[in-house]
Symmetry: D2
Subunit: 355 residues, 4 copies
């Protein structure tokens, strides 16, 4: 209960400023030659301090694998892994012991559990997503090699990448700090973030993810629909406020005649407003979805708040925080998507009588 | 695996044109005096044929309860229930045996499973949602009585209900066929649907759901966030293309200064862009979210398609279909939301040391 | 939570004297041609009234399938099924409303839930096992055809079948009312049960189950060991008091030199004290285990007890009860074993990289 | 899937000779003041090298806690923990690369997964049970303080502790190396083990566990019976061959008149052949059960076997192995029992309408 995945299962632990975070990846098939460098590379894409646009916190984010791997291959046993927290600056957070930051989890954790580790947000910190990147980057290695999963920043504030994803070269995504493959738009986004940062303010954005070459048949018919599993995973990311796939919210404005994806003779479809999923199951067309992220709640400018006793205070973010989460969330979205696909892909192996 | 809920668990079965659909609701607390009329009333709100706006299929949709209830109270045992399908018209569907309807699950089911019950869409039919309404309407009776769950149609095509939900009287929602509490807008929506229907076309729409008086503390910190569980449930509804809560996709355009919900001295918040959830856990403010539905795929006008052998054919919907799903989806959204809340509410009883 | 199985999942409902019992079998692979007569035949083996040795209650125990089957084949959708209770004699049980029968679940249900359906034991009745037989008899059809599952009564009271299972002809099991394939011993067992029945008393017994031709590799290494899953299933049967496999409790008296199963050159083993399972995983040798059942608690002779207010009363079983459960438990043991194997067999399809 | 527990959930990882073993304990209630010394103490009871009767391997078995604990209290977040393997002697095991030891998991792992970590048995090693002791010793701290869980060695080979548990002083259990509280019998057991060890042989035994003061109502009615959950946990322990509770296999020889536990006026029972559980639910009487362990398979004398190519070889155990597992299994049994109880205890908090 409360793990990621159904058959392939990721269980995680760890607070932002504890000794380490980590997890256990269970029911991973045996005999897969693992590329652990690829896992670390995904972690590196997520880690702070990569560009002036993101937080300058130093986290080395080295993952170590403790089990389930033998002579470079998965053994089918649980893969335990650990990421040490090498940058505890707990004194940065002592002022939060008796205070609740606006739009953070401080208040709800305190109320729900009666206790909370207030250092760096404790368990509510997005540091947890490093665990998901590890799990997802391993899970990706279960999938057929030709599956391509590409996410990119499709908007920052009111600056949108207006090109359809088909016109983008995903090789360009990581060439700029904001991770938008449309270089002109990327430039505007980066300027926006810099100016917002200068104000001590933050800004929201969206990420679009495109998955190509998914085999037909991934996803379960009722509870376990591919879009529902993807949506749940994305809505678990800190700061995520919305998920849409295929035509999404725009589809709600359309008529059936406009929206229906007519078949070609090979049962590919002429259009793809379905977003590659029909009846919860992949149809072989591109899967694409969009995820909305709110602006980071920690501001480097004073905000009115109250302490636990209800006295008015002025809170000001200390430490090093992201002015905009979306650039660093790109690998999180991609690797979560890989995880969801791999989980349902394994389940799919059992759904047809072929034994 | 692949049930609805974590601790409170709904397992369902049934095809659109089989003998019956039904389900089992497990881990329901004992000793709750059940209002079974209220359950039937929710089912009646979902059933077809209620207005000229929706399909004229006749389904009596009477639920019968087979277990878990004794002298009007829950016994803690699984509640088995059954809804007979009294309107099998299988001959309506024989033409689908060898054909795949555009934007339906026909093709993906056939590919995934190598076999499908093509009558009325079989398991892929939205008839399944009747089971969810039963489960949700029972689950609602676990929740504190003062919780109010109100969904309404907030758009049909490009006609939007522009009033904020705070200005709406939810008592008006069920007074019109489209289930929009803003009467003037409702009128326009109904006209839109009628004209679309006349063309043999269909149209999409959105539903907004508002939940008041949720106790603080519902939802789990990482996997099991309240928004993720709500999102997953909504994205499981047939035709759903998107989910957003609180500020949603609009929040992605905002700055932190605009978006943060400052506290009042009693730890309610001055604004509520968070949508009543912070860090995955309810904060006591209104929870609100919006769900997008694509237009129904079955058109009463010819569409090009291909049969299983790849020969071009013209398909035209037969039978009685909804021109727009959103009016009938309102009780589905409400009851699914109730289910998700009740599940996490039960879990919450175990999260703090109070035994 | 609280279903039977991990991937293949049986969810059940129903009280002994409600309208019906039934269940939902999920994640059943598509495309299997189902022998539904075989399922009914297993149910018939379990049903009461088959011989003078067992209860003379009349239960027709006809199972009807409501979903998941199309033109004789599984579709991969949940299989819903129902067994009507055609023999409600609720007035037989009114005396139990305020009384607790010794060694029954009356007292614990009342204390745990604060409410109970006292008719025929409600949910605590062994009638529930009819659901398991249906689930198991379907699950058996997932397994390779050459797997043979044979259970038989290996003791009644102090009368033991002393022959090793290798010397028994399982075709004889169902030729006598007590279901012991050693005819001479069967005779003694039947006489024992008749004499016990005449006294209004009951008697316990054991069942041995032998499974041949299980492929190597079924079972999971740590949580999900084959013996643990079998043991859990068997210990869920009403009246079950113990489970042992392979050498069992006798093995605890032995030395390693005596107990180790040395290999043959083909990696079969010379002996099989392991009972076909090593490290939680089948090794291709016969799996065998033994299950202990206590005597039925309902006696047709007066017993001292107390009513809910603590007043002393004399309770005497009414209705028609089994003097000994083991003959009817034989198909329950076999079909539960089939279920456990099929569940872990499906899981096994995902454990090695062969996609 | 394949974790320990239902609501309270332990996920583990680790091979015998990897860098570390460890686990994640999820859904642990917040606000419990944790006695971490008590956890270490239980681990110390399990660790090797404590007496001449057990293996002389040196494992320091220090557990470190990485999350979920703040200022000495549980926070409700997952508790991650690690036990480093400080005694890798991998060269001891190189001879096993191409060989399968009789009655070990070497062969089944290799066949199932196509790959195995052969060092020290890898994941199949009983070292994993150290993780369970940690999980169980934490879980115990959820339970009401007056619950007493006492296991002891009740037989070694054919030497049995003949006294009923009621006549034993559990304070004496840990005063001798074999962990039998009947000192005279303990003496005989220890001599037996010493003589067996001298031969390079091993011997089996049984453990009895007694749990006092369990509140009435723990356990679920059908899938989730207390005895089934206890049985499953025990049958997961390496070398376990059988489980019985209450009257167990002896109960199968008895009549109903002998076996029924008549009530006292306060609804305690005059006898307790039920073993404290009726209908799967605790009735407030002592819970007691017995677990059978086969002799350790690794012998320090030559055994015939075959290498992977089918060539005959003589295998002789190297390294340091237990001549008898039961003394060290006592804390494993106790802590697993605590885990099962705590899990079902938490579930029980949600089963009655009291919110």
């Amino acid at each position: 209960m409360f793990n990621l995945g159904n058959l392939l299962q990721l269980t995680t632990f760890g607070e932002s400023h504890g000794a380490a975070i980590g997890g256990v990846l269970q029911n991973f098939p045996a005999g897969i030659t693992l590329d652990l460098q690829a896992v670390q590379k995904e972690l590196d894409r997520r880690k702070p301090g990569q560009s002036p646009l993101v937080t300058q916190r130093k986290e080395s984010d080295r993952v170590s694998f403790l089990s389930g791997i033998f002579e470079g291959k998965s053994t089918g046993m649980p893969i335990g892994f650990l990421i040490e927290n090498d940058n505890h600056k707990s004194k940065d957070y002592e002022h939060l012991k008796d205070n609740f930051r606006p739009s953070h989890a401080d208040f709800t954790y305190q109320q729900k559990f009666g206790i909370r580790d207030y250092n760096g947000g404790g368990r509510s910190s997005a540091r947890e997503t490093a665990n998901w990147v590890v799990g997802g980057a391993l899970a990706r290695q279960i999938l057929p090699e030709n599956i391509e999963i590409n996410a990119y920043v499709s908007s920052v504030g009111d600056i949108f990448c207006m090109k359809p994803y088909q016109d983008l070269d995903f090789n360009l995504t990581d060439t700029n700090a904001v991770r938008c493959p449309d270089i002109e738009t990327a430039q505007k986004m980066m300027e926006k973030i810099k100016s917002i940062k200068k104000e001590g303010n933050t800004i929201g954005g969206t990420i679009t993810c495109v998955i190509k070459n998914v085999p037909i048949g991934i996803g379960e018919p009722v509870f376990g629909k591919l879009q529902a599993e993807l949506g749940k995973a994305m809505l678990s990311i800190n700061a995520c406020k919305g998920f849409e796939y295929g035509s999404g919210f725009c589809g709600a404005k359309m008529t059936g005649k406009e929206h229906n994806d007519l078949f070609n003779a090979d049962f590919s479809t002429k259009t793809n407003l379905s977003g590659g999923i029909q009846g919860g199951i992949s149809n072989g067309m591109d899967i694409y979805f969009r995820v909305a992220f709110k602006p980071v709640a920690t501001l480097l400018q004073p905000q009115e708040s109250f302490d636990v006793e209800g006295n008015p205070i002025a809170l000001e973010g200390k430490g090093r925080h992201d002015p905009c989460v979306v650039p660093r969330a790109v690998p999180i979205v991609e690797n979560l998507a890989a995880f969801v696909l791999a989980d349902l892909y394994l389940v799919h192996q059992t759904r047809k009588n072929k034994f």
